[in-house]
């Protein structure tokens, strides 16, 4: 179960961003492909544990799935593929290049920032 260590690496990164902008973390968005080797459901389970006691505590984790796409080296066609069948859908050749599907990305962090508008209210 390496999802916890991945979550811990994620939280370190998120804490840096939150500190920089002095905000409270509300939502963290990840992009995960099936060939990343990370199970989104396990990551969701590990997330609150990794967040505990950090500025991301109580924040929400959103995972955007990324589809597997391959490009065929022999016919050039681009197609969707299954994790253990990265064949060209057009000609069936196994010599393909992966276009997407192995990502493990931190896409966005949503922060709550408090703007003190006292001055504005006094006007």
């Amino acid at each position: 179960m390496h999802e916890l260590s991945i979550c811990q690496a994620l939280i370190l990164r998120v804490e840096d961003i939150a500190r920089e902008r002095s905000g409270k973390v509300r939502r963290v968005c990840l992009g995960i492909g099936p060939l990343s080797g990370v199970e989104p459901r396990l990551l969701e389970d590990a997330y609150p544990l990794a967040c505990a006691g950090t500025c991301a505590e109580g924040s929400q984790l959103a995972i955007e799935p990324i589809n597997i796409r391959v490009r065929c080296r022999s016919c050039g066609a681009e197609s969707e593929a299954a994790p253990n069948r990265l064949l060209c859908a057009a000609c069936g050749d196994w010599r393909t290049d992966l276009l997407s599907g192995d990502e493990l990305l931190l896409l966005r962090v949503e922060l709550e920032t408090q703007d003190d508008l006292t001055e504005l209210a006094n006007v």
Binding site: H2, R21, N84, L107, Q114, D115
Partner: protein, 256 residues
């Protein structure tokens, strides 16, 4: 108006979205690049050996050490949850082994390997084998700084393992079908089917059947090793020459 007391001071809650788009394992990747730099700086070639538990990684290393010890200076980094049994087996072959006990961690990461490298004077070695924790899932996600990945699939595991663990077998630069001396006793292992399952992952890696214990068909594996060592050393030498040319007029101490 303030919601708490009704005063005129107002606090507006803003949501700021910060686009990051970086790899989650960025920190591990940086340490891995650092390890690779260390290896390259000393002309050391590093192999990451991965498989499920009991597929014969240590037996393969024992046989390889016996065959290569005269020509190459070898060191081994051993990853295990507990015990240093494997490291002791390696040391019995006359080769230094650094044991990393990961506790409950199911994989080696670049930081653990970096710490182990502090115990190995790299200038005294040509090859470092990193024997990863026996596991077909987690180790595939962590770059350690190796030059090549070798994945073992033992005959007793079944030829459908590449289809079940695509991330691991997609990462392989070479797949060794190990314990092939047992294949005649098993009716469900077909080397051709295993190879087909690896091709279905769009992986062109060579597939070599062998038995380390029975010393069967070790030559193709050894030839592959020698070939890759030669290729990696050529790349290292070219990078070194480019670096030297760039700093031609500067005298600088070699980085340890």
């Amino acid at each position: 108006m303030c919601e708490t007391c009704g005063c005129l001071a107002t606090q507006v809650q803003d949501t700021e979205t910060v686009d990051v788009l970086s790899r989650l394992l960025e920190a591990n990747d940086r340490t891995a690049a650092h390890n690779r730099h260390h290896f390259d700086g000393h002309g050391v070639v590093a192999f990451n050996i991965m498989s499920s538990p009991g597929a014969g990684k240590t037996a393969l290393l024992e046989a390889t050490i016996d065959a290569f010890k005269a020509d190459f200076r070898i060191a081994v980094i051993e990853g295990d949850l507990e015990t240093d049994n494997d490291a002791r087996r390696i040391r019995a072959r006359g080769v230094p082994a650094v044991q990393i006990t990961t506790g409950s961690a199911c994989h080696l990461d670049a930081r653990m390997v970096h710490e182990a490298l502090h115990e190995l004077p790299l200038s005294q070695f040509d090859i470092v084998f990193i024997e990863n924790v026996g596991n077909l899932v987690c180790p595939a996600s962590f770059d350690l700084g190796q030059h090549r990945n070798v994945v073992l699939l033992s005959a007793a595991e079944g030829d459908d393992k590449p289809a079940k663990y695509p991330v691991m077998f997609r990462a392989a630069d070479l797949v060794l079908l190990s314990k092939m001396d047992l294949a005649p006793l098993l009716d469900d292992f077909d080397a051709a089917r295993a190879e087909q399952a690896i091709r279905a992952l769009a992986n062109a890696a060579p597939v070599i059947p062998l038995s380390a214990r029975k010393r069967l068909n070790l030559e193709p594996w050894q030839a592959w090793l020698r070939g890759e060592i030669e290729k990696i050393r050529a790349t290292q030498a070219a990078a070194h020459d480019a670096h030297e040319a760039h700093y031609e007029h500067h005298h600088h101490p070699a980085v340890a």
